[in-house]
Symmetry: none
Subunit: 376 residues, 2 copies
């Protein structure tokens, strides 16, 4: 019954903040506000037994400040993050662009896209800031007898770069071509062998829902399902339907996939690695223009790689109670994305499009973690 | 004779407003102003018999506020509209982009373009916000013996998506290739079978003027002819020339095509479904840069789908006297487009281009129907 209460709380309206309920989206207000995440410590059993399911206030600002690296004149290109998006096919080009440019706007140094030959000139044309590799192939372009050779060639092209990446984003605009998805399965296996974190969204979720072994037990994987993608995951993994006990269900789901992190997008974002569940419900926007999930995946990738650096560097000295970089990166990515959406919406209202939100990522982070003073 | 008087009134100068004739386009003035549409209730016969042809003031603001959906954190992607533009060929790429991006800027969640393979990379490169499907084919690319197969393939590609769309815009940048137009005729038939509203502009009007059976009797079709397109329609349907009795003629035209809605663009926009005629003459711009018709078609598509949702939800409880979503969507689209053109012109004067008007769509709607207060 206590869990019911907690879940009800987790569905409180957005724009709820820790110290008060100021709803204004002005810059000064943003600066004064501190993020609230609601934390349901321990496993469901633990919550039930100990009664620890009561709402705790955890400050997302502190997480973001802790994991965001200082800017320092002595650092060199790549140290603040080298991200790669695997996606972009004949049909979809916007999604991988949104994910990759978001990574740069959060503060990564380098952002790559691995896409099909058809998608490459278009994605390149969106921005000269990205490094776009036209290496993926779709079935319509490959004869059956050439599939093995082409597949090996695709893998070799990606492998040349793989060790340099701090995180992969797999799925934005990937499409569902069977040959292409086979190649991407291999890329996931290689990334996993090299301990490279992966954020999986869009058609990447279609792939891993049907091939859970690709991510099962990999603690550096984050899955970012929307309502429909989550429903399919629950059906496949838990062999049940989505129920009202959202906190318990996302915990069970993450646990069942061996401790991957699930970032369930919704009115509140729920984040679980099978051990704990966090809910991020601050800020946000009521606009539902397509592409916001791509921003989130690119943002989570950067924060995940920063969180990993932070945990490695601080070890047991970390001031954060959370130690899982996938969870920390998901919380930070979710909060910064929601805040950027809120800033964009306050300016553009109904005509807000994804590009407007991307342009607000910098301010969203800067308000919490100013770069200026530390680096000059 | 009474009708003559009314028609003269309907051709009053632009920027005429309901309560006064302030011509300034400043934000404060816009906010205070309320749209005027002139309404000629009932059929021509009814007008003549009852004398109800006298000018009535109908508040467009109220229509726009009624049909524009509240923004709500619990809504999910697609609920505010999923629009598809059928257009874009080797020769024309700007028009379908203008229509599709306008739909997003009005507030639709998703906007697609179905175009030829040649047009696709260019349209994609204009904006990552659109989902562009390179599925249409032109004759130069298809052998006679393959036409049936290719045609079926095109239809299958569109059919995969069709049920998800709330409205199609058919015609911007479509071109007049016979094979392509044959495929589009089939798309119209399929959309009609599925009760999906269609807005027809540009070369789509060339197609339906020669094949009236495609839209005849379909109440969810809006035709948006300019002066020349209207002239051809009148010649074809009424077997006469355009005359000075514009109100009666547009009413007859709409009635003759079985109750489709005609949005006759001009100094004043005249809108009729064969039952009533409305004139929207507020605001506007004297700039006649190409592409404004494309903005209108994309805008009408969104408002039509919103009006349809509104009518379905409110039923007989609707506060609006008008019940035809095609007419409501046309009035709202016309007014918002004209106001956006006026805002853009007040800023850019002679150098106003279509992109400037598109960038003003958000403000144009926001001034009448603020998104902020309802959703936060």
């Amino acid at each position: 019954m206590l869990m019911k209460h907690v879940i009800m709380n987790s569905q409180l309206p957005l724009l709820c903040c820790a110290n008060n309920c100021m709803l204004l989206a002005s810059s000064r207000v943003f600066r004064r506000q501190r993020f609230l995440i609601r934390s349901f410590g321990g496993s469901i059993d633990h919550c039930r037994n100990s009664g620890s399911g009561k709402m705790q206030s955890v400050d997302v600002d502190d997480i973001i400040r802790a994991i965001t690296p200082d800017l320092d004149q002595s650092r060199h290109k790549g140290q603040a993050g080298n991200i790669a998006v695997i996606g972009g096919c004949r049909e979809y080009t916007g999604a991988p662009y949104f994910a990759a440019i978001s990574a740069l706007k959060i503060g990564a140094d380098l952002s790559h896209v691995f896409c099909t030959k058809d998608a490459s000139p278009v994605i390149k044309s969106y921005s000269p800031e990205l490094i776009v590799h036209p290496v993926l192939e779709e079935s319509y372009n490959v004869r059956d007898e050439d599939k093995k050779i082409i597949s090996n060639k695709v893998l070799a092209e990606v492998d040349k770069w793989l060790e340099r990446f701090d995180c992969l984003v797999i799925g934005p605009g990937l499409g569902r071509d069977p040959f292409l998805l086979d190649c991407v399965s291999e890329i996931i296996r290689h990334a996993r062998q090299s301990n490279i974190p992966i954020v999986i969204d869009g058609d990447g979720l279609f792939l891993v829902t049907n091939h859970l072994e690709l991510v099962s037990g990999y603690a550096l994987a984050v899955l970012t399902p929307n309502v429909n993608e989550y429903k399919r995951l629950v059906q496949k993994v838990l062999n049940s339907e989505v129920n009202d006990d959202a906190t318990q269900q996302v915990l069970s789901l993450a646990k069942q996939i061996g401790g991957v992190t699930i970032l369930k997008k919704g009115k509140s974002d729920l984040i679980s690695d099978g051990d704990t569940v966090k809910s991020v419900s601050v800020y946000g926007s009521p606009r539902r223009c397509g592409g916001q999930g791509d921003i989130l995946s690119g943002s989570v990738a950067v924060f995940l790689s920063w969180a990993r650096q932070y945990i490695k560097a601080s070890g047991q000295d970390s001031n954060l109670s959370l130690k899982n970089p996938a969870v920390l990166g998901s919380i930070a990515g979710s909060a910064i994305m929601r805040k950027a959406a809120s800033i964009a919406f306050s300016n553009k209202k109904r005509s807000t499009v994804t590009g407007d939100i991307i342009e607000s990522l910098g301010k969203s982070l800067e308000d919490i973690c100013p770069a200026g003073s530390s680096c000059l």
